[in-house]
């Protein structure tokens, strides 16, 4: 592909090899490529030597390929917005505007994303967020948050309703911004034990997923190759995380439709899964399990039997519960045709992961850009067509089964050898760029690490799947009763801190 540097998941590239465009030309080129079927996976700025370099990463999900290109830009430079033609690019252009002051001309929704502490324009404040408002005699506004009723993270939801019907939902985020990316860029070189523990705190419900993305990028830069055994153990950790959260989400959805047996049973089964993680690595959330270069906790024979037994028991009980749950008229009447995102909308706004698959878009990093054990044992994405809450609930059930299959395969064929990482002291090579993609339980996690001339990390970019999918939630609730919002929200279960960084 002319004008682009070809790369793959978890590969390190020399930055100088990325073809340079002017910003307007790059924007036009991205529009063209996206119209041909490629997907804009990331676009971000790297301030260097008084100017800004914008990197764009396109994904070819059919050929397991990534493409990189760059453009230099002056602060405050303007260019024709990509979003006019490619709605899924909206968040990247808003980030470039918010973080560096670049102006995407004609952007239909140019609003702050997360109010980072080092934003280009400090006069932009959370209190001044430009909410979309409807006018009309019957229209009323409902404001919820940032502090919500439950024990959950903060965010603000602003509904425009006519009677009970939601016409528009706008989601204002940024409350959870902790400056994660800047912390990942601190210090000259990543000394042992790297920043795995920080990566695990990007989103605590995806500790394994984000840590794996961190490891993938660092290992690519350092030329570290995890052993076959470490790869298998990592896959087990990731799939256990998926099983646990999906199970917990089924419990939450059951709770929201007042199906208390489902809430109790799925909730207790989730506990058994996370307690199996505890037995494996000392943390119910897989913290400390994975380490750059390999894993910190290996799986011995006793642990292998324990995990297989626990998860097998969990599955057989979940199966009975799910059969009942998904055939109850009172449950189905709440889930069916609620919060629909059709396939065209899902494609257009760039949904990823489980939410995309529930709308018939078979996007799954494990299949599209496989790494680790997924490169050896192909995985077929599970999809549903209806795009409603039922689809997003049922797909969790199917994916729990799929995860169990992966775990069984990895543990039964566990390769011999070492799994624990030993290589600890290392310096990163200068002027490189590495992209790492992981299919976390929500979807595509993307980490990009950019090093400068002295090998320091000058840019650490994190993209949680929620960055794309929050917009999907806003679409899902349109023309639904406002009382179904909690159900729609649970069916996505998006991350606030993963988005806010």
């Amino acid at each position: 592909m002319k004008g682009w540097l070809a790369t793959r998941n978890n590969r390190s590239e020399a930055r100088a090899d990325a073809p340079a465009w002017t910003l307007p030309d790059l924007a036009a080129e991205i529009v063209r490529r996206c119209q041909e079927g490629l997907r804009l996976a990331a676009m971000f700025g790297v301030p260097e030597g008084g100017r800004l370099i914008v990197y764009a990463i396109l994904a070819d999900d059919t050929a397991a390929r990534l493409w990189i290109a760059a453009a230099a830009a002056a602060t405050g430079a303007a260019y024709p917005a990509i979003t006019r033609e490619v709605p899924a690019a909206h968040v990247f252009e808003r980030e470039l505007w918010e973080e560096h002051g670049l102006i995407p001309e004609g952007h239909p929704w140019l609003k702050p994303v997360r109010y980072p502490h080092d934003r280009a324009d400090r006069t932009q404040t959370m209190a001044g967020y430009p909410f979309f408002a409807m006018a009309g005699e019957e229209v009323h506004e409902v404001a919820v948050g940032p502090v919500h009723a439950g024990v959950i993270e903060p965010g603000h939801f602003r509904f425009q309703c006519a009677g009970e019907d939601v016409h528009h939902l706008e989601i204002q985020l940024g409350y959870q911004h902790r400056g994660v990316e800047r912390l990942l860029e601190r210090d000259a070189v990543p000394a042992h034990p790297f920043r795995n523990r920080l990566a695990e705190s990007i989103a605590g419900d995806t500790a394994v997923g984000h840590n794996l993305a961190y490891c993938g990028a660092m290992e690519a830069l350092l030329g570290l190759e995890p052993t076959p055994r470490a790869r298998s153990v990592r896959d087990v950790a990731l799939e256990m995380e998926r099983m646990a959260v999906h199970m917990g989400d089924l419990a939450a959805i059951a709770n929201d439709v007042a199906y208390l047996t489902g809430n109790a049973v799925f909730g207790a089964l989730r506990t058994r899964v996370i307690n199996s993680s505890l037995a494996a690595c000392g943390s119910r959330f897989g913290r400390g399990w994975i380490q750059t270069g390999g894993v910190r906790s290996d799986v011995d024979d006793a642990l292998r039997s324990l995990i297989l037994k626990n998860l097998g028991d969990v599955w057989s009980e979940a199966e009975g519960m799910a059969e009942k749950f998904f055939s109850s008229a009172s449950v189905l009447s709440r889930l069916e045709k609620t919060g629909i995102v059709d396939q065209a909308s899902a494609e257009s706004v760039g949904l990823v992961g489980m939410a995309a698959r529930a709308s018939g878009v078979p996007r799954d990093v494990r299949a599209d850009h496989p790494w680790g054990g997924y490169a050896d044992v192909p995985l077929r994405p599970v999809t549903q067509d209806s795009g409603d809450v039922l689809a997003r609930a049922f797909i969790r059930y199917l994916e729990i089964r799929q995860s169990l299959e992966v775990i069984r395969q990895r543990l039964e064929d566990l390769p011999d050898g070492a799994a624990r990482s030993t290589s600890t002291h290392a310096t990163l090579p200068p002027d490189r760029l590495a992209v790492s993609l992981v299919e976390g339980w929500r979807g595509e996690i993307l980490h990009v690490v950019v090093t400068g001339g002295d090998g320091r990390v000058i840019r650490y970019r994190v993209k949680d799947p929620s960055v794309h999918n929050w917009f999907g939630l806003a679409l899902a609730v349109r023309h639904n009763g406002i009382s179904d919002f909690p159900l729609c929200n649970k069916s996505f279960n998006l991350s606030y801190c993963g988005h806010d960084l």
């Binding site: 902790r178 523990r197 000392g282 801190c497």
Partner: protein
């Protein structure tokens, strides 16, 4: 109908019969045991700690910063650091979270340290409002788990409520981001006095792994006294339940 009965029968009982006496299975990492006599002062532990929680001279760990990751134990060539499964980590004072060389044994909060007014007012019923101020959803999920069918904290009359007006106290998680500072303060003000303040997780107590970030505004904790510190990353449900029961003086009554 019969299917449901079958499901319930199969499910059986999953609750923890006595959360105050329960223990957590290994390799859970709880209270660290430090052996200054073995320590060679090589300071490798300091180099690997992601939260600046450990010092080698004197050999101490601040549980208010520690994320219980065990990286120091892995790095220590002398075997001077060992994390035990002891999950009872809560303390009434910030100083009491520091453990190790030259520090009086980190005792459980003494019974007479419990404020009489807290016991009288909240000993039999305590409603809490939780605020996540930059929390990663780790502590939030574990606090949510306190009320699930396994831990069932509600059995002690301790529950999370939706409205701060209904609450007797605020439970803070997260390092307090700048963008959440005002909402946290507002929530605190909306809780009628007398009220309790509980800091859960190393982030809330000290900023945790986010402590060096310029995106935090931790002024809230300068203005308001914390009644209970509950360490962890995230805090285990049993750690939280144990701490709260001690705070309201209901622990000894139950045991």
């Amino acid at each position: 109908m019969f299917d449901l009965l079958k499901i319930r029968r199969r499910h059986g009982w999953t609750f923890v019969p006595d959360p105050l006496r329960a223990s957590v299975i290994p390799p859970f990492r709880g209270r660290p045991e430090l052996r200054p006599d073995l320590c060679t002062r090589c300071r490798r532990c300091e180099g690997v700690c992601p939260a600046a929680a450990i010092t080698a001279e004197p050999l101490r760990i601040d549980l208010g910063r520690c994320i219980l990751c065990g990286d120091c134990q892995e790095a220590c060539p002398a075997g001077a650091i060992e994390f035990t499964t002891e999950h009872r980590l809560a303390a009434f004072g910030r100083e009491a979270l520091i453990t190790g060389e030259g520090v009086a044994a980190a005792a459980e909060p003494a019974a007479d340290a419990i404020r009489a007014d807290i016991r009288r007012l909240f000993g039999r019923s305590l409603k809490l409002r939780q605020v996540s101020a930059g929390g990663c959803n780790g502590c939030e999920m574990e606090l949510g788990a306190c009320g699930n069918v396994n831990f069932d904290m509600g059995r002690y009359g301790v529950e999370f409520v939706a409205s701060p007006r209904h609450a007797d106290g605020v439970v803070v998680t997260g390092p307090v981001s700048e963008n959440m500072a005002a909402a946290l303060e507002d929530t605190w003000r909306a809780v009628p006095a007398p009220r309790l303040l509980i800091a859960v997780g190393s982030c809330a107590i000290s900023g945790g792994v986010f402590a060096p970030s310029p995106a935090l505004r931790r002024g809230f904790f300068d203005g308001h006294a914390v009644d209970l510190y509950v360490p962890g990353c995230p805090t285990h449900p049993l750690t939280f339940i144990d701490g709260v029961m001690r705070l309201i003086g209901a622990h000894s009554a139950q045991l």
